[in-house]
């Protein structure tokens, strides 16, 4: 029983990492149709922010806390730069954004290599986040994972609230639902796009900060993670935050359970088969934005 519970928590924590990564994608990909393959490098930018801040600040806990907003801004600005220079020209060609941002990701990786060196860099985690929490005598969960879970949930809550209640959020939704109409109604769609991209990219930066607690910090740290994160957004339904959340956790739990009973390689194949099967049933994902236009 303890085993099942701890494995369940593992699944949820895998889901939380996926969710943090997918959250930014659900904005840039889900709301704007941009397939940003450089999302992984924006994550790396967030992680390197922690590294740089720790060079300046001594306290591991303090630097981590400060890193959260700083990484958000750093990755966000990087994202805006990509949007302004390249993606802006490609809104009519979403598939091409995939290729272009892949190129961006190659270049960013090499920049990281040239600036920070090819080997992984080391960051210090506050001691409170390297240990574990004893829920019962047997059930031990890792405090860094709890932190990431909380961070992911806070980010989802903030994003949901932001989209629902703030004027910017309403504008984002208006542009997503009908770009032409929004433009005609006097919305500066270009500015809204840039802001959306800023937030989506900034969320990648936050994911990067969180990942320093559990994974390596290097030029290619993000690449391995984003294919799965894209799947989460696709299966959740494009433009559907609740879908992203549900699927991230479901996928995490399924993966951890299959992995526990079989092997990682079998698990990855099974997860793929499950996803194809799922898309047979719901080709537009778990939740669909129903409009009268042809989907």
């Amino acid at each position: 029983m303890t085993l099942v519970l701890s494995q369940l928590f593992t699944g949820i924590s895998i889901g939380a990492v996926l969710l943090l990564i997918a959250l930014g994608l659900s904005l840039t990909f889900g709301q704007m149709n941009v397939i940003n393959m450089a999302h992984g490098e924006l994550i790396a930018a967030g992680a390197y922010t922690v590294y740089v801040l720790q060079k300046v600040l001594s306290g591991a806990g303090l630097s981590l806390l400060i890193a959260l907003p700083v990484a958000f801004v750093v990755a966000g600005l990087l994202g805006v730069l990509i949007e302004v220079l390249l993606i802006r020209r490609l809104y009519a060609r979403p598939l091409d954004t995939l290729l272009v941002t892949w190129g961006v990701s190659l270049i960013l990786q090499q920049v990281f290599r040239d600036v920070f060196g090819a080997p992984n860099v080391q960051t210090r985690a506050p001691s409170a986040l390297t240990g574990s929490i004893h829920v019962t005598d047997d059930l031990v969960i890792s405090s860094s994972r709890v932190f990431i879970l909380v961070l992911a949930l806070v980010a989802v809550a903030a994003l949901t609230a932001g989209l629902r209640t703030t004027p910017l959020g309403r504008r984002i939704r208006a542009v997503v639902q009908n770009r032409d109409l929004a433009a005609v109604s006097g919305l500066a769609t270009g500015r809204v796009d840039r802001l959306t991209f800023f937030i989506g990219s900034g969320l990648a930066g936050i994911a990067g900060v969180a990942l320093t607690l559990v994974g390596p910090i290097g030029p290619t740290m993000g690449t391995n993670l984003i294919v799965n994160a894209f799947l989460v957004v696709v299966v959740g339904g494009i433009g559907q935050l609740k879908g992203t959340v549900i699927v991230a956790f479901t996928l995490g739990i399924v993966q951890s359970m299959v992995e526990y009973t079989t092997t990682v390689s079998v698990a990855s194949v099974i997860v793929f088969v499950v996803i194809v099967a799922f898309l047979q049933w719901r080709p537009q994902g778990l939740f669909t934005l129903r409009t009268r236009s042809l989907a």
Binding site: N33, D96, L98, V271, S293
Partner: protein, 372 residues
């Protein structure tokens, strides 16, 4: 408002018209073109190139074969196939399995199975590959069959655009991880290496390696011929129609899934063929050729050369592969920047690829002529 604009994937305005594209010329002139290409590949290259460079060219031509298929599926069909590594790999493994079995000799196990698998008998799914006919057929038919099954599932359910691209990427990742996991029977990350013979011919003999080059060059010409016929046929026109207005085609009584399926399956067959030829040309096939990264890299040459044309993709693939060899020899880290720019610049600023540059130049000269 009902619009026919697919909300996820709007039709790509930058793709050039299906007509007036070179490579789809009228019969006799195209024959001349193919003839000249044949002369260059069979006459010129073997004379001016030494063994080593000719071997490299054989490798590039393999990549060009994949690119022709991608050009058909993506440029004409609008399906960004980021999963060609899977079909390339299937073709390559089918070929390599046969060659490994012939190398080992009848009744013997390939070397790596004894080393890493500790197997006493051949796994059942290896057995048919001992037959050259089966293996040869499998190099093309196996990828096509997989593409057919996958395509039926995907296109019937109208999974397309970004969904399709991401799904095919995930397939690559899954297959590569799976192959790596089965080290005893697939060679794991090492893949199948150390291939000595090609249907009885010793690959260590430089003369035989030249012959492999000729086989690859002939295959490229054949593949170009097939793509040419498909593009100029009524089917080719229909494929462009499906690319630009999948729903509209539906209202004309067609099932677009079937139209796309044909291009997808043909492209998979071409990738399989390329994989099969890659094995004797390079001497190795490994999961590293299947994963997400190589699959995207297959596309880059197509984007650079011009996705919608016939020769653009092949030309682009060869050029990019050559640039990689040339640049990475001298400036390894600069190559990464350059490769990044190769993805960015043509796609953003020259979506028709280098081929459209040729068209553009031609138009400009035509205008000047008119003005003068």
């Amino acid at each position: 408002m009902t619009t026919l604009q697919d909300p996820v994937i709007a039709p790509d305005p930058t793709i050039q018209p299906a007509t007036r594209r070179f490579g789809a010329g009228t019969g006799s002139r195209a024959v001349i073109g193919f003839g000249l290409a044949a002369v260059a590949l069979f006459g010129l290259a073997p004379v001016v190139l030494g063994d080593f460079r000719l071997g490299l060219l054989a490798k590039y031509l393999c990549l060009a074969i994949v690119a022709v298929g991608i050009g058909l599926a993506w440029g004409r069909g609008g399906m960004l196939t980021l999963g060609q590594g899977v079909f390339f790999g299937l073709g390559g493994y089918a070929m390599a399995m046969h060659l490994k079995l012939t190398d080992a000799g009848p009744g013997q196990l390939p070397d790596f199975m004894q080393l890493y698998g500790q197997l006493d008998t051949l796994p059942w799914w290896w057995k048919p590959f001992a037959s050259p006919a089966f293996a040869l057929a499998a190099t093309v038919l196996l990828p096509m069959l997989v593409a057919l099954l996958l395509g039926l599932l995907i296109f019937r359910r109208r999974v397309r655009g970004a969904y399709f691209a991401i799904l095919s990427q995930a397939l690559c990742a899954a297959l590569a991880i799976f192959l790596i996991g089965q080290q005893g029977t697939t060679g794991g990350t090492n893949g199948l290496t150390d291939i000595q013979g090609f249907f009885g011919y010793d690959l260590n003999d430089p003369l035989n390696r030249r012959t492999v080059y000729f086989v690859v060059a002939a295959a490229l010409l054949a593949v170009l011929g097939i793509a040419w016929q498909l593009m100029r046929s009524r089917y080719g026109e229909l494929l462009v129609a499906v690319r630009d207005g999948e729903e509209r085609v539906r209202f004309l009584g067609y099932d677009p899934a079937n139209v796309k399926l044909v291009a997808y399956v043909v492209a998979a067959g071409m990738a399989g063929l390329a994989g099969a030829l890659f094995v004797p040309a390079v001497g190795i096939i490994s999961p590293a050729m299947i994963g997400v990264v190589p699959s995207i890299e297959f596309v880059i040459g197509v984007a650079v050369g011009g996705r919608a044309g016939l020769v653009g993709p092949a030309l682009g693939a060869i050029a990019v592969a050559w640039a990689r060899t040339a640049l990475s020899e001298r400036l390894p880290s600069a190559w990464t920047y350059f490769e990044g720019l190769l993805f960015i610049l043509p796609v953003v600023f020259l979506p028709g690829g280098l081929a459209s540059l040729a068209v553009l130049l031609r138009r400009r000269t035509a205008k000047k002529e008119v003005a003068a």
